[in-house]
Amino acid sequence: MRGLLFAFLGGALITLQGVANSRISQSIGTWQAATLTQWTGFVTALLILLFIRDRKLREFKQVKPLYLTGGALAAIIIFGNVTAIQQMGATFTISALLIAQLSLTFLIDSKGWFGVAKQKMQAPQFIGILLMVAGVIILRF
């Protein structure tokens, strides 16, 4: 039950982040909003890191440098998310975003890129994505 609440709240916060960013962008500009929110988030995470004991910063060295750079993608993610929400609303944006997210995850899994365990393409994943596209079409037209 607690797990369900966490996951449900997590999803709510992801959407909240998108609509809040798009609202802030209206007032101060999209790049300003991205820079500001990433900065305050970074400072908060850093403060929490300073308060907990289990700090293993050295272990970053064991990670392939490419994987350490994932955070930088957020700049484009925030810009894209805000632009899309302003153009076509939150529901349609999140729907399209989730379809692209799952499709790419599926592609990477099936090719075994970036050292993920290679998995066979299977019908349920195709059907799942087709259902999502069908849902978007119902939503919009």
């Binding site: 101060i28 990433q38 350490l68 076509m88 995850t105």
Partner: protein, 156 residues
């Protein structure tokens, strides 16, 4: 609208990629160190691109409201919830629930017209659309599990 679709699809693909990269970091480092690194790099990248696109205007911010300063903390909340949700439910179940909740709240805020969103009246068609999308998410995430498909590890 095509521009909106393009940016939503690009953002979604990058979220998928970022989740994989971040989970690779998370395997070695603790989740707060990972979060700080991810947000720190997000800040640097936004700052650099912002400076290139806007120049000095990036810092000439007017119409600032108090809550803008705190909205970055939402991202920290996302990490706390997803890390705990995945710990308690496993990635497949937790991420399916989170994606469903993302859509439900998007629909809610669109229909309420909050956060400066253009108000879109809630219709039966939208309800059916979201139900079909959610069923797609669950078929994607749980389909093939019986045949032993290992769920993709995600988490922002």
């Amino acid at each position: 609208m095509l521009i909106g679709i393009f940016w939503a699809l690009l953002a979604g693909a990058l979220v998928g990629l970022q989740n994989i990269f971040n989970s690779k970091v998370n395997e070695r480092a603790n989740s707060w160190a990972t979060t700080a690194l991810v947000l720190g790099l997000g800040f640097l990248a936004s700052l650099v691109i912002g400076l290139i696109v806007e120049g000095k205007k990036l810092f000439a911010v007017q119409h600032m409201e108090l809550w803008f300063w705190f909205s970055g903390i939402i991202g920290v909340g996302v990490v706390v919830c997803m890390v705990n949700g995945i710990k308690l439910l496993g990635p497949t179940y937790a991420i399916s629930i989170a994606m469903t909740s993302q859509l439900v709240f998007a629909l809610l805020w669109d229909s309420l017209g909050w956060f400066g969103l253009e108000q879109v009246p809630f219709t039966f068609k939208q309800f059916i659309g979201v139900i079909v999308i959610v069923s797609g998410i669950f078929v994607f995430k749980f389909g093939g599990l019986l045949q032993g498909r290992k769920p993709a590890v995600q988490g922002e």
